[in-house]
């Protein structure tokens, strides 16, 4: 599903190139649950942003579902966002002026899903996340954990093939964090959704099937976890 070949990213500062990613090559298959780990400043977010096509690599090749991302035009990229990619952010990034239900519905609007179908899908997701009672509240009326649940619900409702999550539990208490991880694991196993998350926590990483260790922009370790649990 994802092919990275020799991805480089650097910023030129006063003639000095400061590398953030170097020779990053890897491939991720449909249905994998990958955790990216590493110390602060290692380039984890940058890598995830490149995977999410939010940033462009300075050099290297990136294929997403067989398509060359570098030569992708804006329209195609937006199509990918609509149909295949769901984002989950550390800071949730819900739209403050929309209710819970509207936030979840938003991606469907861009996908031009019919009104009836939207209603049923949103109701479905709300039900699954036990948020039906909260559907008319605004984000600032929810707790952090609840907000992140809405964030994930929003990422899921469009039925993406991949979820990209940058420290999805970074702002949460551990019981809530574990709840989110359980959810990811379930989605990964039951619906075969590819999940790539950035995390600092070994515990969170253990929910996944693979760990990429990043150090100073280089993949130091690519660990496959045995599904023993």
């Amino acid at each position: 599903m994802i092919e990275l070949k020799n991805i480089e990213k650097y910023y030129a500062n006063k003639g000095v190139k400061s590398y953030i990613l170097r020779h990053v090559s890897t491939s991720i298959k449909q249905g994998e649950f990958v955790s990216i780990m590493g110390p602060s400043g290692a380039g984890k977010s940058t890598l995830l942003n490149i995977l999410g096509m939010l940033e462009e690599p300075t050099y290297g090749a990136y294929e997403f579902m067989g398509e060359d991302v570098v030569s992708l035009n804006e329209r195609k990229r937006i199509e990918l966002y609509r149909n295949h990619i769901g984002f989950v952010f550390q800071a949730y990034h819900l739209i403050d002026e929309m209710t819970v239900a509207e936030n979840i519905e938003a991606p469907l609007l861009y996908k031009k899903v019919s009104s009836a179908e939207r209603k049923s899908r949103v109701a479905d997701v709300l039900d699954r996340f036990n948020m039906v009672a909260k559907k008319d509240l605004f984000p600032n009326q929810l707790s952090g954990g609840q907000q992140q649940l809405v964030g994930i619900a929003r990422a899921l409702v469009a039925q993406p093939s991949i979820i990209l999550a940058d420290e999805p539990t970074g702002n949460l208490q551990s019981p809530q964090a574990l709840q989110i991880m359980e959810l990811f694991k379930k989605l990964n196993e039951e619906e075969n959704i590819t999940i790539i998350q950035v995390t600092h926590s070994e515990v969170n990483a253990a929910y996944g099937s693979r760990i990429l260790h990043l150090l100073d922009g280089v993949i130091k370790e690519d660990l496959s976890l045995q599904q023993v649990i």
Binding site: S45, N49, G52, L54, E55, E74, R75, I78, E79, Y81, R82, I85, F87, F89, A91, H93, L94, I95, D96, E97, M98, E102, E105, A106, P107, L109, Y110, K111, R154, A158
Partner: protein, 805 residues
């Protein structure tokens, strides 16, 4: 999607109520003034559009110097009546030519039966062809024959209601007195016409047909002046017609000069040349002779209005971009959810559209509310909903709406929809927000406009107070002017009324000036001077100030023969030291010698925009000609109301069928200043609004900047900065901007106010004070505004600010 965007828009507006209100208010100011202007322009362009046939009607204009205000040749529409017949005969394109004279604007008395006479000042005397040229719609009577008989009249619906209180007027008889001593003539109403749907340049309440207009004075030397209108066939070749008209005129003038045995070439030399032309009736209002056209008059106001709209749009843009920081997250998220840039652009334009449509609706309501005031100000009548061109007005409003929405919404929408989601989601958007230079630029522009306005008001205020306190050269108080010819018997009776000091007449008084240029020879040089005919004590009655010599007096028998008084301007023109000097006036071959017996101070008889002409005052035994139309009465003391009713009683005895109409010289004097005063009032209103808008903009920007720097401020405070130091820090950048705006405004304001001042013959030197004042004022107000915001930021608890970062 649209519904959701609309919902978000409203939630956003509610959340940022303050900004929304400021934004809408700003636009309302700009739009309202723009709407008023738009309606005014529509109204002015509507002149003479009430019938499609009017596009074939032409007004005839002749170049001559008779009764021109400066004694020079001008294109005038009061022309030699013989030209009408001439055009009909030699220009085949003109199917009908009609002669019209406007009856004295100070009033024609209409007496119906035994009731009190009613004064009408919108009557026309027409020849029998009037309705062949002007296609008025007859409600009663027959268009073809309505004015074919002498002593007939046709009324407009509105005038019929006013005079008779009914529309059932056909066949009725009324007595018409054209001036006070007129014995009157009876006219029969032969027609009733509908009031046209648009204003008219030749407006009237009724037309009279006495039959006198049918013939022209006999003999080549005598001329009678009237207006001439011609109806042409469809699509005439205007250049060819213009050529033919001019040629006909030159031939006519040559034959007239030959008949009078005078030299055509001697007369038409230098600035004098013969000229006759036709002007389409529908252009007459836009191109009046002798005065500035309405467009010329409102040009400065158009400028002001456009500037005001601009300021309010800038305000909008500034506030919107400032707010966009808050919206950036929404945009970033929507982008990664798969929104097209275009749809985001549309969303933000939609929000601008909501605001500007709210503003537009309020503006329309406000316009409706202000129209009566505005109409009184400009002395026109306009309504919004009953506007004859409501549809075209609606289309114009639609266009204004689109333009304002695009102007104010497009840039913020573009900034937002272009933002990079990574920046936003990382939280670096605010710091990286582009367009700081643009916002600062807009702020500077706003202040340039505001400061220019302030300087403008300052200069105008100084000039108008100079004018108000300038000695007019005569005493306007305790002086009234009855609009009538001077009759010695009535004057004598009024003189005997207790409380009356002088009764006199003159051809030149504020509000009614009739300048007659005469050529004189002094020390064998020729001069052209303005001549004013007065009665013996007219100069005393006016309260003019004697410089040397004496005024006219009954004690000197020869005063009515060969004595004259000069004003200082005339004395100066003739070389000074004129007392006792003699000059020669040639009149139809004969030479008359006049002696200067006194010199008076120049006195104003028109607005201060006009130079006082060098003038000769000549006493007349006949009490002026019957056409002076001024009967000056000076009273002994201030409380002259009682005296006036006594005078009115005398009047009634002499003129039972003609009401007495008078104006106080004081109010005529104020009238002369009215136009300038109006303009100054306008500018003052505009200035206040634009200054207020600029301050709003500054306030919002300051609020934004201090919000953006909350964290910085908190940290600085923790490090030990005092509130004052923080306020100073925030102020610095804004003060530099405002100062910069001032520097730009100075030359602009200088050029503009200098241009305005140059329109006054009597004016102040360019003052420095308004410039300094504007700068101090703008800096102070900016300082206060920013400090208010900065203080809020500075005194807030640093812990809170840091916790929520």
């Amino acid at each position: 999607m649209f519904k959701l965007n609309l919902k978000i828009a409203f939630r956003n507006l509610l959340k940022n109520r303050g900004y929304a209100v400021v934004n809408v208010l700003g636009l309302v100011f700009g739009l309202t003034s723009f709407l008023l202007l738009l309606m005014y322009i529509n109204h002015e362009q509507d002149y003479d559009r009430w019938d499609s046939g009017l596009s074939n009607v032409y007004q005839v204009r002749e170049r001559h110097d008779f009764f021109s205000p400066d004694g020079k040749q001008h294109w005038q529409y009061g022309i030699d009546s013989k030209i009408a017949g001439l055009l009909k005969k030699s220009i085949p394109q003109f199917r009908q030519v009609t002669k019209v004279s406007v009856l004295w604007r100070n009033g024609t008395a209409i007496k119906i039966g035994q009731s009190e006479p009613i004064l009408m000042n919108d009557l026309l005397e027409v020849d029998s062809l009037f309705f062949k040229v002007f296609p008025y719609k007859f409600l009663k009577g027959v268009q073809k024959t309505a004015v074919s008989e002498p002593n007939t009249m046709v009324l407009k619906e509105s005038a019929a209601k006013k005079l008779f209180g009914t529309l059932d007027v056909l066949g009725k008889h009324v007595k018409v007195l054209r001036w006070s001593s007129d014995e009157g003539k009876t006219y029969q109403v032969k027609g009733l016409i509908a009031d046209p749907s648009t204003p008219e340049s030749l407006s009237f309440g009724a037309v009279l047909h006495s039959g006198e207009r049918e013939k022209d004075p006999e003999g080549p030397g005598s001329t009678n002046y009237c207006q001439v209108y011609a109806l042409a066939g469809d699509q005439i070749d205007t250049t060819a017609v213009a050529k033919a008209v001019q040629k006909t005129y030159i031939d006519y003038k040559k034959s007239t000069f030959a008949a009078l045995k005078t030299s055509y070439d001697d007369y038409y030399k230098g600035e004098m040349f013969p000229g006759l032309k036709v002007v389409p009736l529908q252009q007459v209002h836009a191109d009046p002779p002798l005065s500035k056209s309405w467009l010329e008059k409102v040009k400065p106001i158009i400028g002001l209005t456009v500037f005001l709209l601009l300021v309010s749009v800038i305000n909008f843009v500034n506030l919107a971009t400032v707010q966009s920081v808050q919206r950036a997250k929404e945009v970033g998220v929507k982008k990664v959810l798969g929104a097209y840039k275009r749809s985001l652009l549309m969303q933000f334009l939609l929000e601008a559209a909501i605001l500007s449509s709210v503003a537009l609706v309020i503006s329309i309501a406000l316009t409706e509310l202000l129209l009566p005031v505005f109409g009184r100000h400009f002395e026109i009548e306009m309504t919004f909903w009953n506007n004859s061109r409501l549809w075209s007005l609606m289309i114009q409003l639609g266009a204004v709406f689109v333009v304002v929405t695009l102007l104010s919404g497009f840039y913020p929408a573009l900034v937002l929809s272009n933002c990079n989601p990574v920046d936003v989601l990382k939280g670096t958007y605010e710091r990286g927000l582009k367009g700081v230079a643009l916002r600062n630029g807009l702020l500077v522009l706003q202040f340039v406009i505001a400061v220019t306005f302030i300087i403008g008001i300052g200069v105008m205020f100084l000039q108008s107070s100079y004018v108000a306190h300038k000695n007019p050269g005569f005493e306007p108080d305790r002086l009234i002017n009855i609009k009538t010819s001077y009759q010695e018997d009535l004057a004598e009776k009024i003189r005997r009324v207790p409380g009356v000091k002088y009764v006199a007449t003159t051809t030149q008084v504020m509000g009614n000036v009739f300048n007659v240029p005469r050529e004189i020879t002094y020390k064998s040089k020729d001069y052209k001077l303005n001549t004013v005919t007065v009665t013996m004590d007219a100069l005393q009655a006016l309260g003019t100030q004697l410089v040397v010599g004496r005024l006219f007096s009954r004690a000197y028998a020869q005063d009515t023969l060969n004595a004259v008084v000069l004003n200082e301007a005339a004395a100066k023109l003739l070389g000074g030291h004129m007392l006792g000097q003699q000059y020669v006036l040639k009149d139809e071959g004969e030479k008359h010698t006049f002696q200067v017996v006194g010199i008076i101070k120049d006195y104003h008889n028109e607005g201060f925009d006009k130079e006082i002409l060098p003038t000769i005052y000549k006493a007349s035994s006949r009490g002026g000609t019957s056409s002076t139309n001024n009967l000056l009465i000076r009273f002994e003391n201030e409380n002259y109301q009682q005296t006036i009713s006594l005078i009115e009683a005398e009047w009634k005895k002499k003129y039972p069928d003609y009401p007495m109409v008078y104006t106080a010289a004081e109010s005529a004097f104020q009238d002369a200043l009215k136009a300038d005063r109006r303009f100054i009032e306008m500018v003052t209103v505009f200035s206040f609004i634009s200054v207020a808008l600029s301050l709003l903009g500054l306030f919002a920007l300051a609020a934004f900047v201090s919000k953006r720097r909350t964290k910085e401020i908190a940290i600085r405070k923790i490090l030990g900065a005092s509130d004052l130091q923080i306020i100073r820090m925030l102020n610095r950048s804004f003060l530099i901007l405002v100062l910069f705006a001032n520097v730009i405004s100075w030359p602009i304001a200088y050029v503009l106010t200098n241009k305005w001042l140059s329109g006054f013959a009597y004016r102040i030197d360019m003052p420095v004070f308004p410039f300094i004042l504007a700068t101090l004022l703008s800096l102070t107000v900016a300082l206060l505004t920013v400090s208010l915001q900065a203080k809020k930021a500075a005194v807030s608890d640093p812990v809170n600010a840091l916790k929520y970062e």
